[in-house]
């Protein structure tokens, strides 16, 4: 046993090193992809060669060519231009959802975790109930109540995503509460609110950021689904979800390209956000261990 121990330790150290190296390129790749999409969204007018809403009925469902990098759709719109412009609505929606639900979740989680007691029990039960409703269902409900478009689904999903952040923050705050450094702040005379907001929150914020990153991918998927169902972004505005919906007819005609392009964009973005968020969370957890 004693003779074996050193080898085991060396083995683990080497494994950790390989992992860290393996993790590095995948983080950079994910971050790179996301930066690329973000830049495309910001500089869409400079990048897109055509007006994304300009139709050309003499040139429908064209294959990739020098004129149209990714071909055209069923009404002759340039797929590449629609993809680039689509990045705007496809990324802004999830950004709004993640921002709103993170602010709300941090607030709720901090209050529940820090105050504890009956207030925490009540908040936790409410969060449990909210977990029972899928975000997509709430978004569809909101659309039937308030009409189609981006606003209703974004508001509904912001609320539906709040428990994911709130529960994590609550757990982290409860764990922090018993930390000696937090006790030290209390003994030094800092007010409970000050300790919670200005001392504890900054210490747990990297993990919240990691969670928010993962959520971004899910929000993008859900909003794309809403647009695919025709309940989110309305035509002729380009959006990856509605692009997939628009090309259903083309797929039946044996021209899958217009559906494949936005699908790949959605899949790649969601995976990149997931990888980035999970890896960041892992690293922070390993560092803090």
């Amino acid at each position: 046993m004693t003779a074996l121990a050193p080898t085991a330790v060396v083995g683990r150290a080497r494994f950790a090193k390989v992992r860290a190296f393996g993790g590095d390129w995948i983080i950079w790749l994910s971050a790179g992809v996301l930066v690329l999409f973000a830049l495309a969204a910001v500089f869409a007018p400079l990048i897109a060669p055509y007006d994304p809403e300009a139709t050309d009925l003499r040139n429908v469902l064209a294959g990739p060519s020098g004129d149209h990098l990714l071909g055209t759709d069923q009404v002759g719109r340039d797929t590449f231009s629609r993809l680039v412009y689509g990045a705007r609505t496809s990324l802004v929606g999830p950004l709004a959802v993640v921002a709103a639900s993170t602010v709300l979740g941090v607030l709720v989680g901090l209050v529940a975790g820090w105050r504890g007691g009956r207030l925490d029990s009540v908040i936790s039960r409410v969060l449990d109930i909210m977990f029972a409703f899928p975000a997509l269902l709430l978004a569809i409900l909101a659309v039937t109540l308030f009409g189609k478009g981006l606003v209703a689904p974004i508001v509904a999903m912001s609320i539906a995503y709040t428990p994911f952040i709130a529960r994590q923050v609550r757990g982290l705050v409860i764990a922090s509460r018993s930390r000696p450094y937090v006790a030290a702040y209390t003994v030094q005379g800092f007010s409970p609110t000050d300790v919670a907001v200005r001392r504890v929150l900054p210490n747990i914020s990297p993990l919240i950021l990691a969670q928010a990153t993962v959520m971004f991918g899910y929000a993008l998927l859900d909003l794309a689904a809403m647009s695919f169902l025709g309940l989110g972004v309305q035509p002729p505005t380009s959006d990856w979800g509605s692009m997939i919906n628009d090309s259903r007819g083309a797929v039946l005609l044996g021209e899958p390209l217009t559906a494949v392009v936005p699908s790949v964009a959605v899949i790649v973005t969601v995976i990149a956000f997931n990888v980035l968020g999970e890896e960041l969370g892992d690293r922070i957890a390993r560092r803090d261990a």
């Binding site: 006790a183 030290a184 209390t186 005379g189």
Partner: protein, 257 residues
């Protein structure tokens, strides 16, 4: 004459797995102005619970904590009461790796306490911070570093400087040197003795190690299972222990052959 700190009949019971465990039962002691008192006992003897009640981190089931003739409430209300309580009693915790905020550099950690408790600003405040760090043997170089770059001994010095920044009348040291190497322990103990002479702060020194307590304190209590089983001068406890448990603790001290 009123004592600096008077603790009367502190009781605390925890409920665990349906059992009631008396962490402290009727703990009483007096700490005179500028004095030093040791609390000795094994883990589970109730000494840390007592310390946490004294600094207000734990609410006693019954009993009183009287500071210079005034009873301290376990839940201070409002800013002034909170700061007043902080200036009465400060604490240095056992584990210097967990008791410092990992995000805050050493100088800033001391400075935020100075900022909270004094009106000093700008250059005056920075000078005060460096004075405090100087008192514990740390300099400008350490002021800019994060706790994780410091050794255990250095971190514990930071924790002491941070506690002193409040300007407390009583300093509680809860196993404050137990996590340190023996040579570093001696340095920190010397430092505490110096600080006590310099500032007149009263020390409540909690340890499982009677030899360490003797180094700092003139008087001590011995605790076991939440009760004070013996009390007296440290010299007397060492030379003529009355209680069987004190003798057991004494036998745990390594002696030169």
């Amino acid at each position: 004459m009123t004592a600096l700190l008077e603790v009367e009949d502190l009781c605390k019971t925890y409920r665990a797995h349906g059992h009631e465990v008396a962490a402290a039962s009727a703990v009483s002691f007096r700490l005179e102005e500028g004095g030093s008192l040791g609390i000795v006992g094994e883990s589970g003897s109730g000494k840390t619970t007592t310390a946490r009640m004294v600094v207000g981190l734990e609410r006693p089931d019954s009993g009183r904590i009287v500071f210079r003739g005034q009873e301290l409430s376990s839940r201070p209300r409002g800013r002034s009461e909170r700061l007043e309580r902080a200036r009465a009693i400060q604490i240095v915790f056992q584990d210097p790796y967990l008791s410092l905020d990992p995000r805050v550099a050493v100088g800033a950690a001391v400075e935020q306490v100075v900022k909270l408790h004094t009106k000093l600003a700008g250059a005056d405040r920075r000078r005060r911070v460096l004075d405090l760090l100087g008192q514990v043997g740390l300099g400008e170089r350490e002021a800019g570093t994060l706790p994780r770059r410091l050794s255990g001994g250095q971190r514990q010095r930071v924790a002491i400087a941070r506690a002193l920044a409040v300007g407390p009348a009583v300093l509680v040291l809860d196993e404050a040197v137990s996590a340190l190497d023996v040579s570093v322990q001696a340095q920190v103990l010397n430092l505490l003795t110096d600080i006590r002479e310099l500032t007149g702060v009263g020390l409540l020194f909690i340890s499982h190690d009677l030899a360490v307590v003797r180094y700092v304190c003139d008087e001590a209590l011995v605790m076991r299972s939440g009760e004070v089983v013996e009390r007296g001068s440290t010299a007397q406890l060492l030379s003529a222990p009355q209680h069987a448990y004190t003798r057991v603790l004494l036998d745990a001290i390594p002696r030169p052959a």
